[in-house]
Symmetry: C2
């Protein structure tokens, strides 16, 4: 089914009618990563995002206990409008859930972080096909050897997404994504997975592997799943997130997040 407004998709998710990855859906609307933490960890994580704006570009932060992102997506409910959630406890993935209503507490603080799905529509408009969309898969994501800047109790490696780009379109892909600093912006690396600590492109840490064809270069962008890799290392008592690739779709337009 095609959804024309982000609200239609969110409502289908809330009713349990859609439960897949969201890449390629409702083009034009900005998708976002979700990180939810207890209030006592929220300042440290805010600081972590401020120091790591490429993987963690903040779109909206909600006051403790709030679950409606009133500034970017009024009427939405971040407890029910994401297709799949992950519950991390003390640095371990504890479970995946279809909604988190039963987990909700008045001291939980929600962070919406920009997602690279936002610039994919712009790539496609410029004639650069996005492989995982073409293959009907989730985007491949990899834990790198690039450390984040630590903040308070949070530290750990950066996660990246990878898209194979024809060699003669790499410059164009850099230019296009540079216009979207609020959704990870320009690539962090072009060409050599090993240099950023990725041994095998066919085995992503999150999402699905995609084909890299002859004449194509693997291009890597910072990824909003970074907080989940960081959770495994810094072991917050509780962190609730989206499941990688199963995003919260906001009412913001991709173009609202572009610089001129």
């Amino acid at each position: 089914m095609n959804y024309t407004h982000s609200r239609d998709l969110r409502e289908a998710i809330r009713r349990g009618e859609f439960s897949g990855p969201t890449c390629g859906l409702v083009p034009g609307y900005a998708q976002s990563n979700l990180v939810i933490l207890p209030r006592e960890l929220a300042f440290d994580f805010f600081l972590f995002c401020q120091r790591n704006p490429k993987p963690c570009p903040i779109l909206e932060v909600l006051e403790p206990g709030r679950y409606e992102p009133a500034l970017t997506t009024p009427g939405a409910d971040i407890r029910t409008d994401v297709p799949l959630y992950r519950i991390y406890k003390n640095g371990k993935l504890s479970s995946e859930e279809k909604n988190i209503t039963n987990y909700w507490r008045d001291d939980l603080v929600s962070f919406l972080l920009g997602c690279s799905f936002t610039f994919e529509a712009a790539l496609v408009r410029a004639g650069i096909a996005v492989r995982h969309i073409g293959e009907g898969k989730n985007v491949p994501m990899y834990i790198t050897n690039i450390p984040t800047v630590p903040a308070g109790s949070f530290f750990g490696p950066n996660v990246v997404t990878m898209r194979p780009i024809p060699r003669n379109k790499v410059v164009k892909a850099v230019q296009i994504t540079s216009r979207f600093p609020a959704v990870h912006g320009a690539p962090v690396h072009i060409g050599d997975p090993e240099e950023i600590g990725i041994r095998d492109l066919s085995k992503p840490d999150y999402g699905d592997a995609v084909e890299v064809k002859p004449g194509e270069v693997p291009v890597f962008w910072m990824c909003g799943v970074t907080p989940q890799a960081v959770a495994l290392r810094s072991k917050p008592s509780l962190m609730i997130t989206h499941s990688p690739g199963y995003m919260f779709v906001t009412d913001m337009l991709d173009e609202d997040l572009a610089v001129s």
Copy 2:
């Protein structure tokens, strides 16, 4: 005395040898506003800055108890390196101090926010004289009728700076300052003080009045003194700031804060 490196100025301030406003000093180095709050208010204020990036563009936030801005200005001490501080208690200006060593507590969180002095050097380079520098004064600042976006316990009006610009250079001034989003960026208003709630340009709320000559237009930029106007309204138990115009001079270069 001329200071060639920001460190020289900070050391002179620390030794008590310099105690004036910092506008026009050590051109090329980014100056910053300072806001210090107890930890229990720091998340709300962080959120306030995130929602009000034009008046409150964050350059660095320090962990609770830290007083060395190790990321932007290693070796500096924000308790001693500002020429004049203000202590606000429960929404009232309680005192001005030359240093805040005696006020320091392990739960205090320091925020460095961008300052429009940063783009003044770029204006001057483009042949646009900055009146308050020419007159040897502090920049005029005004409380407006433009509300900030509230966050947690923080709410109140925006504060702006004003620079008179010759009518035929207003476009150029917009273009130049647009390159500096991390230090308030483009003007928020051009031309009509009353429209933003300023009744009398000759009576600024902070800083000094400057002459607006025939053929010049008053141009207004968001100002990092906004948190101080907000403190008067939202009455945090304690907020320590710089005194308006008496800034913390960082080791960041103005050009580090420019977009291409």
